[in-house]
Amino acid sequence: MTLEKLKNILEAILLAADKPMNVQHLDAIFSGDEDRPTRDEIRKALHELSDDYAERGFELSQVASGFRIQVKQDYAQWVGRLWEEKPARYTRALLETMSLIAYRQPITRGEIEEVRGVSVSSNIIRTLQEREWIKVLGHKDVPGKPALYGTSREFLDYFNLKSLDELPTLAEIKDLDKAYPELALDDEEESDAPSEQVAEMEDSAEAEAVADEIETELDDDADAGTSSASGV
């Protein structure tokens, strides 16, 4: 099949599908076809589609669960007018809980409460679970066997992320003894600078390790050939 035809089929599929599709999913659709394209051809076609859309109102976006065609952010303001309802807002409590789970997974409710200094309402956990943004990864081996929470692929999809690596960098923690008054804490750029990222404390290193782990798990497109967790 020609590249043009493959591109058209792929864009037809992506436009019709109601969830992101990874290369594996797309490949499976052609199984049984006589002139079945290779996965490399599929990747090439996706790449070209992405280029084709450069000047259009929509784009090909790669998120955790695969590729999807979405409206470009530039046109969101007009598209949003289609619906009378305003997009949902999330409370700070929910967002803080969510960010702790995202950066510190696997984490228990107790550990979240420790950092936030207040109890986490069951409502928030329930809401996050209902949205399928978080899931129970297991249970911590301490008295009470509290659930360990982690983020799901849907969470990444929702925020247009490919992996946890793409989350904004956490601000660093400064040592009280090395305090310099001129180092204003609330200067965001300062803390996001890559050079300082390296100096981050163990906490964030830990979070990154978790992120790596999850990334590997999700990474079925990059090296579809290799073994690991390709059941996704």
Binding site: A16, A93, G117, N123, L176, P181
Partner: protein, 278 residues
């Protein structure tokens, strides 16, 4: 604090930036005594309380309000401001979450330790504020992270998914494959089960008769008589004739067909039982 009422939380979130919180309406200084002549609806103060995500958040607010770095938290001053806030809440009989009181105790303890002369050798590691500062920073980075996540492009606000109309799809839903073996096993099982609650055993299935019964029923109609002989065929031989005859007798017994013979030795006609619909 128990679980915050989600609605109240939404209100506070909508009020957005803390720096603009109505707390500043209390003249930049926290009130220690509520003016008796001024009625402040308790709801309004609850909104203020809800604006803070807990004691750490409140402390951060008090520090930032003075443009100070968390690292140089002026314990004495902050403790005093914090306590006035708590006092005000108590005066207004607003239920204060336990976490706020625990923090008050912690602040008081730090304050008292800072007043004591510090042994010089332990100076480096033993700043009594260390733990509080660590917690404040830790909280602050996640407070920031929450804000960052909130600003990420998200579906339904910054991104919209596409959903093209589908062409006409020929959906041929594949039918299940069945192995003859499965069918036979099902029959064996169902017969075994039926043996358990019936008194007799069925050893032998008279398939050819049952099948012939079906064939006869297919051939005949309820409206017209079918010639009896047309149901037999020479090729089947004697055995075929016996089977057909038995099938006919069985059908008569089950009142599924009518056999009609107008006079002795006249030809016999077959008709589906009158009540049949076909």
């Amino acid at each position: 604090m128990t679980e915050p009422d989600p609605q109240a939380a939404t209100v506070s979130a909508n009020a957005s930036k803390q720096d603009e919180m109505p707390f500043a309406l209390v003249q930049g200084e926290p009130l220690t005594v509520v003016p008796q002549d001024l009625y402040i609806p308790p709801d309004a103060l609850e909104v203020i309380l809800e604006a803070f995500e807990g004691p750490l958040d409140l402390l951060l607010y008090l520090i930032k309000r003075q443009n100070l770095d968390v690292l140089e938290v002026p314990i004495a001053e902050i403790t005093q401001q914090y306590m006035s806030y708590i006092d005000m809440m108590q005066t207004l009989k607003i239920e204060i979450a336990a976490e706020y009181l625990v923090m008050a105790a912690m602040l008081a303890e730090i304050k008292s330790r800072m007043l004591l002369p510090r042994p010089t050798e332990a100076e480096d590691e033993d700043d009594p504020r260390a733990e509080l500062v660590r917690r404040l920073q830790e909280y602050e980075r996640f407070k920031q992270a929450a804000q960052n996540i909130d600003e990420l492009p998200r579906i339904g606000r910054d991104l919209y998914l596409t959903d093209a109309e589908l062409p006409e799809l020929k959906q041929d839903r594949p039918v299940p494959e069945v192995d003859l073996k499965d069918l036979l096993m099902a029959f064996k099982d169902v017969m075994a089960r039926s043996e358990m609650y019936s008194h007799h055993q069925i050893q032998r299935e008279a398939l050819s008769v049952r099948e012939r019964m079906s064939k006869v029923l297919e051939k005949i109609s309820a409206h017209d008589f079918t010639d009896y002989t047309s149901l037999f065929s020479i090729e089947e031989g004697r055995r075929g004739a016996v089977v057909t005859l038995l099938a006919l007798l069985e059908l008569v017994k089950e009142q599924l067909i009518d056999l009609v013979q107008s006079e002795p030795f006249a030809s016999i006609h077959v008709k589906a039982a009158a009540s049949s619909e076909k």
